[in-house]
Symmetry: C2
Subunit: 177 residues, 2 copies
DNA sequence: GGTTGCATGTAAATGGTTACATGATTGT
DNA sequence: ACAATCATGTAACCATTTACATGCAACC
C-alpha cells in the first residue's frame, strides 16, 4: 500500500490540499497506523492527477498563497475499492525505542527512566487525542479508532506497571558490581 | 537505526551467520519490533566487515555449503553502545490491515470476518511464541518481551471483544439498503 | 515430484526521507 | 526577534524490497 493509495483513502472522505492530507497522517485519524510526509504526498498527488484518479482545483485565499484542493474521481474510488479488497500485507513496525531498551544493560538507569517517562507521556497524549474524537463515525473508522485506544492504553499501563522494575533491576546490578 | 546497527545488536548476543540473523528478525526475539530481510542483511554484514565492526570466519558443515559466521569486535560493541545511547527516532508503523478496516464500508462483511479471524490467529500465534520464551533473561530483554506479550494480548482481546460489532454493524447497514 | 529448510549473494527497481527553495502571517 | 503555521514543490540521496541466480538435503 503506497502513498498514492493512502491519499485516495484520505480524499475519499473529503477534498483536501496536500498540506491537509499530511496533517491527517501527522495527528489526524490515520496517525496511529500510517505515516506520510510532504516529500511523498506531493509527488503522489501529481501522479494521481496524471492518471485521472483525482482532480485538482485552485482555491484562492486571503493573504495566503493559493491552495490546491484535490478531489477523488469515480475512477479513483474504484482504485481505492480495488486496493482495500486485496489481501493486506503484514504490518511493518520499526521501534528503535524497543531496540534500545532491549539493550538496557548498555544504558544508564537515569536515561532509561527518562526514556520511559517520555514514552508514557507520548502514549498519554495520543490516547487523549483518540479519546477526544467524535464517536459517531462509520463502523470501520470507529473500530480502528477504538483499536488505537485499546493499544495505547495497554502500552501506557505496561510502562506504568513495569517501568520501575526495569530501572530497579539495573540499579541493583550496578550496586552488585 | 539501520540494518547495520540491528545486525550489531544481534551479534552482540552471540555469533551468527546472515541466515541466522534473519531468522531472529523473522521469528526470534526481535521479530515483534524490528524487521530485516536477506537483501539488506547481507550487504550490511559486508559493510560492517569492511569497517572492522565485525569479523567473519567460515565454518564447514556436513553436506551443506559453508557457513559464514560473524562475530562482533570491540569496535563494533562501541558502535552499538553509541547507537543505543542516541535519542530514539519515533516508531514507524504501517498497517495496511487497519487502513482496510478503516474503509470497512467498501468490504464484504464475510471478508471482514475472515480478515479478523486471520488477525486473531496471528496474534495468538505470536503470543504463544512470546509466552514460550525463557523468562530468565537480561532485564532489558525481559522487559521488551513482556511488552510484546502485553500488546498482543490487548490486540487479541480487542478483536475477540469487538470484532463481531464491526461485522454486525455492516450487516445491519446492508439490510437497511 | 513438490515443498520446505538450509545457505549466500547481487542487481535493478522501488519507494521514501531529507534537504533545499520560497514566502507571508500570526503569535510570543 | 523568533518560532510556528500555512503552503507547495523538487532533487539528491538513502534504504529496502524484489527478483534473480544457485544448489543440496530432508520430508511428504
Amino acid at each position: 500500500m503506497d502513498v498514492k493509495t493512502l491519499c485516495l483513502g484520505v480524499l475519499s472522505r473529503r477534498d483536501c490540499s496536500g498540506y491537509e492530507i499530511r496533517k491527517q497522517f501527522e495527528e489526524g485519524p490515520f496517525a496511529h497506523f500510517q505515516d506520510a510526509g510532504f516529500g511523498s504526498i506531493y509527488p503522489a498527488l501529481k501522479k494521481l492527477t496524471e492518471s485521472g484518479l483525482v482532480n485538482c482545483r485552485a482555491e484562492e485565499q486571503d493573504s495566503r498563497p493559493d491552495k490546491k484542493v484535490y478531489a477523488i474521481t469515480q475512477k479513483g474510488r474504484q482504485a481505492l475499492f480495488d486496493a482495500v479488497n486485496q489481501q493486506p500485507a503484514a504490518d511493518k513496525l520499526r521501534s528503535d525505542f524497543m531496540f534500545m531498551l532491549f539493550f538496557a544493560d548498555l544504558l544508564a538507569p537515569a536515561a532509561i527512566d527518562r526514556m520511559i517517562a517520555q514514552r508514557s507521556a507520548h502514549h498519554a497524549k495520543l490516547l487523549n487525542r483518540l479519546e477526544g474524537c467524535d464517536r459517531v463515525l462509520p463502523a470501520g473508522e470507529r473500530f480502528v479508532l477504538n483499536y488505537g485506544i485499546a493499544i495505547h492504553r495497554a502500552a501506557l499501563a505496561y510502562f506504568e506497571d513495569h517501568g520501575h522494575e526495569l530501572v530497579g533491576a539495573l540499579l541493583q546490578k550496578d550496586v552488585a558490581e
